[in-house]
């Protein structure tokens, strides 16, 4: 399309009054009728050429048409020159001009009609029908023999028959030109806004409260770019129950007090968009659809056009943008919709990037801290386990990541010839669990330092201390741990134990070649203050073995999603105890079978295993 011609072509319209005037002017010339007639005919050919040139500027330039125009023009001028210098007789010129005019009109009619059919844009096609009639009238006037001999009629009708052509084209020119001008303005506006937005976002990225500011910027830019009456950003609240207004500009019909929309609101279009994860564009909204924006129709009655775009990333959905127009007959266009979508996508992309970046930084920081915490924690458990001729203890402990919620302790009292073994599993993983582990360890050592007390009493006091002193009686921080504690008196071959919600203590009986389980005697610690834990006693024989483990061992899974489980542990325990004599060997073999079982599957919990062999 020759859009750049549009600005100039308005001047062609001036030809219309000139044409009408020229007919009359020619009549006033002091010439014979034949001469006047010839001038009028040539004038009309000349004018129609210029006119044709102008019309063609609306279509894709067609070389054939331009060829005809230039050739005709050249011939016309040459003939006029010949006539002027008297080379060719006047009658010949007159005949030629009439023939040329007739042929030319037919050609012109066909060319312009088909050009419009093929290449004309929507606006130019409007003219196709009137063009047929106009051309018809024109041909009749131009070729009618009776008219040709009446110079006065000719002088009025010839220019007029061409002149009426200008009117529809002038109208179309107006439509196309103003439309184009508006479009160009809008495009420029959009591009400017886009650049501004990019610049603002770039600046915002260097500041604090990035997300808030990007959303503010987004709302402002979208509203500006689409020239909407109101634009709003809703974000999902923490429980995913409400859409809350995060940023609002202009007029937007939502309830003024709460500024939020509940998930339970039936058929609400915003929630619909969130559910479907798809944008919505209603150029001309119906009263039924209007109800779905907000239930109060008084508030929404002015809304005429709406766009809703959810703020989605692959991982999550955090809200939506919506814009409206309130005036009737001025709906959003598909371009507005596209612009809004592009801007939203860009904003979401920036937010998500920022989010990932911060997460990464945080993770790195946490990892560093976890390393330090892990070192501290390792210094809190026995580095070497005491051995004696009377018992043999070995421990395997492996935190899931650096720090552990599992805790074991072995306290050997040489003077009293007793050894206490504790295993404890704090609920949860990571930092909270390991902090609680440290609390338990501190309390446990405080109690144990005061001399021997029954295991049940130790756990009772430990529990009380944790609940009342350390947790301050607070229920909100919900930390609890399962705990099992036993003391072995090798001289008496006696074991006394207590168990607060922990997995059963397993004892391998050498004489019967079987396992006996000693299950929990009370609740885990950290739940209730006033729990009394029982102490029970049992006797060990030579070569009997005691096993304590945390549920990380039991819950180890293999590639088939099977659990290692208690039964498998018992079976392997019997097998290894029979095969090996020292606790260290038994433990090593037990751990190996577990590792073989799990294969390449990563563990999901901290794991601890304590084996004691009596009088090996």
């Amino acid at each position: 399309m020759h859009y750049r011609e549009y600005g100039k072509s308005i001047w062609y319209l001036l030809l219309f009054p000139l044409l009408l005037a020229s007919g009359v002017l020619v009549l006033l010339l002091p010439l014979p009728d034949q001469g006047k007639s010839l001038i009028i005919e040539n004038l009309s050919v000349f004018i129609i050429l210029v006119y044709q040139y102008w019309v063609m500027s609306y279509f894709s330039p067609n070389r054939a048409v331009f060829g005809i125009i230039y050739t005709t023009l050249a011939l016309e001028i040459i003939l006029l020159l010949f006539m002027f210098f008297g080379i060719v007789p006047f009658v010949f010129i007159q005949l030629y001009t009439r023939g040329l005019t007739a042929i030319y009109f037919v050609l012109f009619f066909i060319c312009s009609y088909f050009s419009i059919l093929e290449g004309g844009n929507r606006e130019v096609k409007i003219i196709r029908k009137p063009l047929v009639y106009i051309m018809g009238i024109m041909l009749i006037i131009q070729l009618s023999p009776s008219l040709r001999n009446h110079v006065v009629l000719q002088s009025v009708l010839f220019p007029f028959s061409i002149g009426i052509h200008f009117l529809p084209f002038a109208a179309i020119h107006h439509i196309v030109y103003t439309g184009l001008k508006r479009n160009t303005e809008l495009q420029n506006h959009a591009v400017n806004k886009l650049f501004q937005f990019l610049q603002e976002v770039g600046e915002v990225l260097l500041s604090y409260q990035v997300i808030d500011r990007i959303l503010d910027e987004l709302v402002r830019t979208i509203q500006d770019m689409t020239i909407s009456d109101g634009c709003v950003i809703f974000t999902l609240d923490e429980a995913n129950e409400h859409l809350e207004v995060r940023s609002l500009i202009g007029f937007y019909p939502i309830s003024d007090n709460t500024m939020r929309i509940s998930r339970l609101e039936e058929g609400n279009i915003f929630w619909e968009c969130i559910r479907k994860r798809k944008p919505l564009f209603l150029a001309n909204i119906t009263p039924d659809q209007r109800k779905k924006i907000y239930k109060d129709e008084k508030i929404t009655r002015d809304v005429s056009s709406i766009i809703v775009i959810p703020l989605i990333t692959e991982k999550r959905i955090f809200g939506l943008v919506s814009l409206i127009r309130a005036r009737k007959g001025n709906p959003f266009s598909i371009t507005d919709y596209n612009h809004a979508q592009v801007l939203t996508r860009y904003a979401v992309f920036v937010i998500e990037n920022r989010h990932n970046h911060m997460e990464l930084l945080e993770k790195q920081q946490i990892e560093k801290e976890v390393d330090i915490a892990s070192n501290i924690q390792q210094s809190l458990v026995p580095k070497s386990i005491s051995h004696s001729k009377l018992f043999d203890i070995a421990v395997f402990t492996k935190p899931l990541r650096g720090i552990s919620g599992d805790y074991f302790d072995v306290i050997y009292h040489k003077k009293e010839q007793r050894v206490s073994v504790l295993i404890c599993d704090v609920a949860g993983r990571g930092i909270p669990a390991s902090l609680f582990m440290v609390m338990i360890r501190t309390a446990f050592h405080l109690i144990m330092d005061r001399g021997y007390r029954k295991e049940g009493e130790v756990i009772t006091e430990l529990n009380k201390l944790l609940r009342e002193t350390i947790l301050g009686g607070q229920y909100n921080i919900y930390l609890f741990a399962t705990i099992a504690l036993y003391t072995f008196w090798p001289m008496e071959q006696r074991v006394s134990y207590s168990n607060g919600g922990h997995l059963p203590i397993l004892i391998y009986r050498e004489d019967k070649k079987e396992i006996q389980q000693y299950a929990a005697l009370g609740l885990p610690i950290g739940i209730e203050s006033d729990v009394q834990y029982e102490t029970k006693e049992l006797l060990l024989n030579k070569k009997d073995a005691v096993l304590l483990c945390t549920d990380g061992i039991i819950e180890t899974r293999n590639g088939k999603q099977e659990e290692y489980g208690f039964k498998r542990l018992e079976k392997n325990f019997i097998k290894t105890v029979e095969e090996f004599s020292t606790a260290r060997e038994v433990l090593k073999q037990l751990v190996q079978t577990m590792v073989d079982f799990q294969g390449s599957v990563s563990p999901v919990d901290d794991r601890t295993l304590v084996v004691m062999r009596a009088m090996p």
Binding site: G428, R429, F480, G500, G501, E555
Partner: protein
């Protein structure tokens, strides 16, 4: 994990579905707080469709239990079976938690107990 919420009068039933582990425990806690803020008086946790529970899951149950106890909200945990039941028994929490066999049992109990009906309405 999915949580489906059902109301009848001031009773709120949370139907849990899926694994109750580290991740879903947070979700359950949050959902409970939300329901709690709405002023519920009776809470039923339906664990019929929970096949797995870990220590954090137990922790979230303990949290809900202590919160309801503190604020005089009646709590029932129903339909605990399979692995979760084993875990709860192993940790001795079976005697501590208000467990009930089935949802119907608990609802029947509410219906029979006409004295409370007035308080609800």
């Amino acid at each position: 994990m999915n949580i489906r919420i059902e109301y009848s009068k001031l009773i709120c039933i949370l139907h849990l579905q899926g694994d109750l582990d580290l991740f879903s425990a947070e979700l359950l806690k949050r959902q409970f707080q939300l329901q709690f803020n709405r002023g519920l008086k009776q809470l039923i946790l339906d664990m019929q469709q929970v096949e797995y529970i870990d220590s954090m899951g137990i922790g979230s149950l303990l949290y809900i239990f202590s919160e309801t106890k503190k604020r005089n909200i009646s709590l029932h945990i129903v339909g605990v079976h399979g692995t979760p039941r084993k875990v709860i028994e192993l940790t001795r929490l079976d005697r501590y938690f208000p467990l009930a066999e089935s949802l119907q049992e608990v609802l029947d109990e509410f219906d029979e107990d006409g004295g409370h009906e007035d308080e609800w309405s």
